[in-house]
Symmetry: C2
Subunit: 320 residues, 2 copies
């Protein structure tokens, strides 16, 4: 019997977590998911992840040989050291960092690598989705917060202290009327263009419908002036943020996830127009701005890529 | 007799050009310089460069073996293809680009590489100066314009279309009162913090001394209120610009050249304070912001590094 080489993927989210078995080509062979016991703290969450992973490894007995494990975490992470830091949706984790990659590697006896989910999803879109073929690509998530993953010259840029990519917190309004961001800074892109910010601004404008980005988008498409104004503001600011990215890094492609997918042209048209107003033509004329392509498969492929990209990097560090 | 391996360096500036022979360790063995006939157009400039280079190669007969040529150009450049584009201080060059690396390689029969001078100086500070030991470093020139060179994960980031690093043209004032930049955009960092901008703003404030950045710095140190206010504004905006860089790229070191060297603490103290106000502590606490160290040797070493860095990159393209 032909036994596949498989990668174990672990996706740790604030609401749900999953373990998967996938081929290196991204074919899904097994998936198990459960809710994340986020409110019970890190020990409970880690136990849940290991239990999911053991289910997957048991299933792997009939499916193939597992060569490694990739973890995608919805929290700040120091990928080089496999360490996770506290996030609002994962309360009670140690502020000095939890060495999750090593814990999982020891429990499962598998080489294990870990990435922040924005970085891991950037890698997934680059390898399997809307970023294919680009040497230099920026990926933006635009959900509860705005994060990004940067693939520069064919490699994920992780930053010196395991951070960076915080495009959600660059300033797009320097005036005294700038909105205060949840991070404490003023005028952050996230305060205008994240899902909750668009909902909040629509409500301030008089929108009275369901409090979700998708519902505000629906209302805007139906002609609701408050919803339309919120998206116009988000698009203007998002274009300004992307202009900064473009002037500094000159990517050939920008991939927009989450809200941009729900909102489509409602956000993209205004964003592109604002971007082109605020950056040089020489840097925008051959640039493409496209929605993410992986949809429901993004999280699974992100966990896979957390492993694959590190395995590809000759000088990568892996907990094993 | 022990013959050294030498690199021919060509520095093309808007005012002066030079050819040098240096060891790969940066030891200068020969230097010849002349004024750049910039007003006579590209053919005259290219002829001058080749004549300088031939002088150097003749001197090399007694000094060692020349293994390659690096060119640092004070103009936009597509380094991968060795092509130079028009710049304000080099008028009359072809808008479709001049293949300077190939022209020089053919004339001298040497493998030749070319970089924009901000990128080349970034490499020089990284290899020999204030950037030594940093995996991720940003270098800013702050002369007539503001440019930058980014060394990310130990490699120069050149951008998809041979551009990027345009930190001088990211927006640091989004208000209606923002200054208009010479590039046509509004609120660019360069419109506040370049040498000429500081001089212009000081004059608007009532400064009546010599029209140079060094003179305004001198006046500010003597207590001139107009000069002090111009530097305070430049520092505030520069800190905002660096904050964007830090949030996006999380460098471990920022090296400031040109004006920052003349102005010293007059600029650096306010810049650091503004930077720390506009970026997260997690990304600034281990970051160092330092003045460039190479001084008069920066241009020669930049030309050397234009060759060395490309020779180091396994997938580099070299005209030969």
């Amino acid at each position: 019997m032909n036994r596949d080489r498989l990668i174990l993927g672990i996706d740790l989210g604030g609401t749900k977590s999953a373990a998967t078995l996938q081929t290196s080509g991204g074919e899904l062979r097994y998936r198990v998911a459960t809710s994340t016991p986020a409110q019970d703290g890190s020990d409970a969450v880690v136990a849940t992840l290991i239990s999911l992973a053991r289910n997957a490894l048991q299933a792997a007995n009939d499916l193939g040989t597992v060569s490694g494990c990739g973890i995608s975490v919805g929290a700040p992470a120091d990928a080089a050291n496999g360490v996770v830091y506290p996030a609002p949706n994962l309360p009670g984790w140690s502020p000095i960092g939890t060495p999750l990659a090593r814990i999982v590697a020891d429990a499962l006896n598998l080489p294990t690598c870990l990435e922040n989910d924005a970085d891991a999803t950037a890698l997934a879109e680059w390898r399997f989705g809307a970023g294919r073929g680009a040497e230099t690509m920026a990926f933006l998530t635009q959900g509860t917060g705005i994060g990004s993953g940067l693939v520069l010259n064919g490699r994920l840029h992780r930053g010196a202290f395991g951070a960076g990519g915080e495009i959600g917190h660059i300033c797009v309004d320097t005036s005294d009327e700038a909105r205060v961001c949840s991070c404490g800074l003023c005028g952050c892109l996230e305060a205008y263009a994240s899902g909750p910010s668009v909902v909040r601004i629509a409500a301030e404008n008089g929108y009275r419908g369901e409090q979700s980005g998708a519902a505000v988008a629906e209302a805007a498409r139906g002609g609701d002036a408050a919803a339309l104004a919120a998206f116009a503001l988000a698009a203007d600011k998002l274009g300004r943020g992307l202009a900064v990215l473009v002037m500094l890094l000159n990517p050939e492609r920008i991939v927009l996830g989450t809200l941009a997918i729900h909102a489509g042209d409602l956000l993209l048209t205004g964003t592109e127009s604002s971007l082109r107003r605020h950056a040089w033509k020489r840097l925008t004329e051959d640039l493409t701005v496209v929605p993410a392509q992986l949809g429901d498969r993004a999280q699974d492929l992100a966990a896979l890529c957390a492993y694959l990209s590190r395995a590809d990097e000759s000088n990568g560090t892996m907990s094993q």
